[in-house]
């Protein structure tokens, strides 16, 4: 009866907010091939790839140009044919505006393709073979995390439910939606491959209830399979892994627990499509659908873009900037990163380019209204965390479960005082990680020092013992000699 008094409308997961969609679902347009493609060797966090081409090499479309450097790295493939002209430092798509070594490919526009190796009888193949094929195709999670898909599908624990994430809860982004409309059948094929690899009994496609066309396309594509499809409410962040699981199964994954520990796995719908391409068509991941949108772009649309294309070329394909082009965001308006230049190239996880006017607001003091806590999907107390991060009380931050913050930005959006909460939390998280590292190093150094002390002590003791032994032996000999003398 008093439901209307609650701030939050009934949601199927904790917290969250309703945002304006701003989604313009368009046909997927193929832009002209860019003159230059740029491939950063930096993949994500501390993962790199190693260049396996030289300047002057001619490469075909689909050819490997960089190989993995570590177990969690993936290969990089050329998205078009052409000549390698440089391997040099360029700005990359990174929140800190890093410049990293990049392979520069001058395209020749011929699109000479490396021969593909399709595998149509995937059901007859073993899981290792398919995983290796996915790994060699360079597939990573296309939802944003960029975690190698082959590694994710190598589950050590049994997985009972596979969730294909088509929620796409961030405003403006519609690449997954238009992909689902265009290639629903292939997505389902990709999903069946994942299901085969994981041997999961249950597979659910989760999609927001605001996407009827994509829902209908997927629904007709799953007819002959046992895949289910389920709508989730259009509440941000419905696409967060834990939120999605809670929304469709009602099961709450506890904080600090990974979802696969509870038997779940989430794959983005675009990843599913990439797996279809890798297995059935034998094509590596070199292209993806990307939304180019915002008030700063003349024609908002979805593009079938080659990974490595500089942003300015994609903007050109959308008729260029308007007068409102004041900031460039890769990703959505809630969790994307602001880029400093449109010379930066798109990467595998780039799902959206948002060009918007700058919206600045003066920060006012916190009035402790508590709205942030109401919308937090991780059930944290952002207001409390904000005090502690500002006063650098890192232990209290940890106590209040800062680590569970998914940086979704809900708290920022509802804050009447316009406090940049997520920014404060990111800084606090970085500080805490730094501190942890320092403590670990200090502990290691202490251990080393103690070991050294022990060793020194032991050596000294051993020496003393030997000395004592020797002395005793000498004494004995002396005594024996004296005895002999006496005798």
């Amino acid at each position: 009866m008093f439901d209307f008094l609650w701030r939050k409308k009934t949601a199927s997961f904790t917290g969250g907010i309703i945002l304006d969609g701003h989604k313009h679902v368009s046909k997927i347009i193929t832009p002209p091939i860019a003159k230059e493609l740029v491939y950063p060797l930096f993949l994500a966090s501390n993962r790199y790839a190693k260049s396996c081409v030289k300047i002057g090499d001619y490469v075909k479309k689909g050819q490997v140009i960089a190989t993995p450097d570590s177990p969690l790295s993936t290969p990089i493939h050329a998205a078009s044919s052409g000549t390698i002209t440089a391997i040099e430092k360029r700005l990359i798509a990174h929140p800190s505006g890093l410049a990293e070594n990049c392979i520069i490919l001058q395209t020749d526009g011929l699109e000479t393709v490396l021969e593909a190796e399709p595998c149509l009888d995937y059901q007859q193949q073993n899981r290792e073979f398919l995983r290796e094929k996915i790994h060699l195709a360079g597939i990573v999670g296309l939802g944003g995390a960029a975690f190698p898909t082959a590694k994710k599908l190598n589950n050590s624990q049994p997985i009972h439910t596979l969730i294909i994430n088509a929620a796409e809860c961030e405003p403006y982004i519609s690449c997954d939606e238009s992909l689902a409309i265009r290639s629903a059948k292939n997505i389902i094929q990709g999903t069946l491959i994942i299901q085969h690899i994981l041997q999961t009994a249950r597979c659910i496609i989760a999609i927001e209830d605001s996407k009827p066309e994509a829902y209908a396309a997927l629904l007709s594509a799953i007819k002959t399979t046992d895949i289910q499809i389920q709508k989730v409410p259009s509440i941000y962040p419905a696409g967060g892994e834990k939120q999605l699981i809670q929304a469709i199964t009602g099961q709450k994954i506890p904080a600090q627990k990974l979802i696969f520990e509870s038997g779940f796995i989430c794959q983005n719908i675009a990843t599913s499509f990439a797996i279809y391409q890798a297995i059935i068509l034998g094509m590596p991941l070199t292209e993806r659908v990307i939304t180019v949108t915002g008030a700063g772009i003349k024609q908002a649309q979805n593009l079938q873009a080659k990974i490595g294309t500089p942003i300015k070329d994609l903007v050109q394909a959308c008729q260029g900037y308007t007068n409102h082009a004041e900031q460039l965001i890769m990703g959505g308006p809630m969790m994307g990163i602001a880029l400093a230049s449109d010379d930066i190239a798109i990467i595998k996880t780039s799902n959206c380019l948002l060009i918007e006017p700058l919206k600045q607001a003066d920060t006012q003091p916190c009035i402790r209204c508590g709205d942030c806590a109401e919308v937090c999907p991780s059930e944290l107390l952002p207001q409390q965390l904000y005090w502690y991060s500002r006063s650098q009380e890192w232990d209290n931050c940890t106590d209040y479960q800062l680590a569970d913050c998914i940086e979704c930005g809900c708290c920022d959006v509802v804050c009447p005082s316009k406090i940049p909460l997520v920014q404060a939390f990111r800084i606090a998280k970085a500080e805490i990680t730094q501190k942890h590292r320092q403590t670990e190093q200090a502990a290691l150094a202490k251990e080393r020092f103690e070991n050294q002390q022990h060793r020194k002590l032991r050596i000294a003791q051993e020496k003393a013992q030997q000395l004592a032994k020797r002395k005793a032996a000498i004494e004995k000999m002396k005594a024996a000699a004296a005895q002999r003398k006496l005798n």
Binding site: R7, Q327, M334, A338, K359, Q364, A373, Y400
Partner: protein
């Protein structure tokens, strides 16, 4: 092309301190209108004096603290404090009372502690208590429900402290009930007196209904959370009902407690001040219950006829502890 960079989210906030404050101010208007209808110009003069003092003091404090004056003045918080003081004190109190009170609220209760968001006590209530203790005479002479003051009468009364005609002042029913009960009177007899309306103060009970209306508007707009007002009212009604069912000749009815004095204004407009209230879900309930029950205790057994201001200040004091001990995992 080059772009400036910043940190996500890039979606601007859909809420502002200004929006909250001005919604609360708007919600107070019906009650002010009703008071104007029954009591005349005195309330408007108090409001003007309070607002003038508040804005001036706020501007001076901000200058002294080297803060941006325009953005802080336009947030509406000083304006709201001024309004709350003006409607809380007797409408016929002399001009220097309201000016001193507002000065105290903005300077001592707000800016000494660090300004908006940092004050532990509700500035309006701190000022009210300060005035009540400092000027008990002026703070307990209420405008009689039978006295409508036109502009010149109100002006004379407030600025030159000359009573225009007899019967301008009277006690409130809470005061009356308290003193008469002390004299051994029966509640039923007390309530026969002319000062009583349907349930509580004649005419003032209608002002209180207007507060309720404003409060419901704030709930509907989701400016305030339902927990605190509900808990305040329950905290008052539960002990009142128990006492009333034990002896209804000695203890006033729960409806009387609800409609008399500052109950409804406090529940919807004072206790809900987010800065000084508990912010956790359970904390808000405890905080509200504390205020409600304190109001009842002070009204029934304390030395003051009404108690909202004392109850709120005491609850303000305990709010941080409530939140601290309720912190869950």
């Amino acid at each position: 092309m080059q772009f400036p960079t910043s940190c996500s989210p890039f979606t601007p906030s859909n809420n502002s301190v200004q929006r909250i404050m001005f919604h609360v101010i708007a919600a107070l208007l019906p009650a002010i209108a009703v008071q104007f209808w029954f009591f005349g110009f005195s309330i408007l003069m108090q409001i003007c004096l309070a607002i003038g003092t508040a804005l001036l003091t706020e501007a001076l404090c901000l200058t002294a603290r080297k803060r941006d004056i325009v953005s802080a003045l336009s947030d509406g918080s000083a304006l709201l404090t001024a309004l709350l003081i003006a409607i809380a004190i007797p409408s016929i109190a002399p001009w220097w009372v309201v000016i001193t009170g507002t000065l105290f609220a903005i300077l001592i209760a707000k800016h000494i502690y660090g300004g908006l968001g940092y004050n532990p006590f509700n500035p309006a209530m701190a000022a009210y208590v300060f005035l009540l203790i400092s000027f008990p005479l002026q703070m307990t002479q209420w405008q009689s429900p039978f006295a409508f003051l036109d502009f010149s009468n109100a002006f004379q009364l407030i600025f030159s402290e000359q009573i225009a005609f007899d019967g301008t002042t009277s006690a409130t029913v809470l005061d009356l009930t308290k003193t008469q009960l002390h004299l051994g009177q029966n509640l039923a007899n007390i309530q026969q007196q002319a000062l009583f309306g349907f349930i509580a103060d004649k005419n003032r009970e209608l002002i209180n209904l207007a507060y309720l209306l404003g409060g419901l508007f704030l709930l509907h707009k989701k400016i305030i959370h339902w927990a605190i007002p509900t808990a305040v009212i329950l905290g008052l009604l539960i002990p009142a009902s128990i006492a009333y069912s034990i002896d209804n000749s000695l203890y006033s009815s729960p409806t009387f407690h609800l409609m008399a004095g500052a109950t409804l204004c406090c529940a919807f407009f004072i206790a809900t001040d987010p800065v000084t209230a508990s912010s956790s879900k359970k904390g808000r309930l405890i905080y509200g219950l504390l205020i409600g029950s304190l109001i009842y205790c002070i009204r029934t057994w304390g030395g003051y006829p009404d108690a909202a201001a004392f109850a709120v200040l005491l609850a303000n004091l305990s709010a941080p502890s409530i939140d601290y001990y309720l912190k869950g995992k």
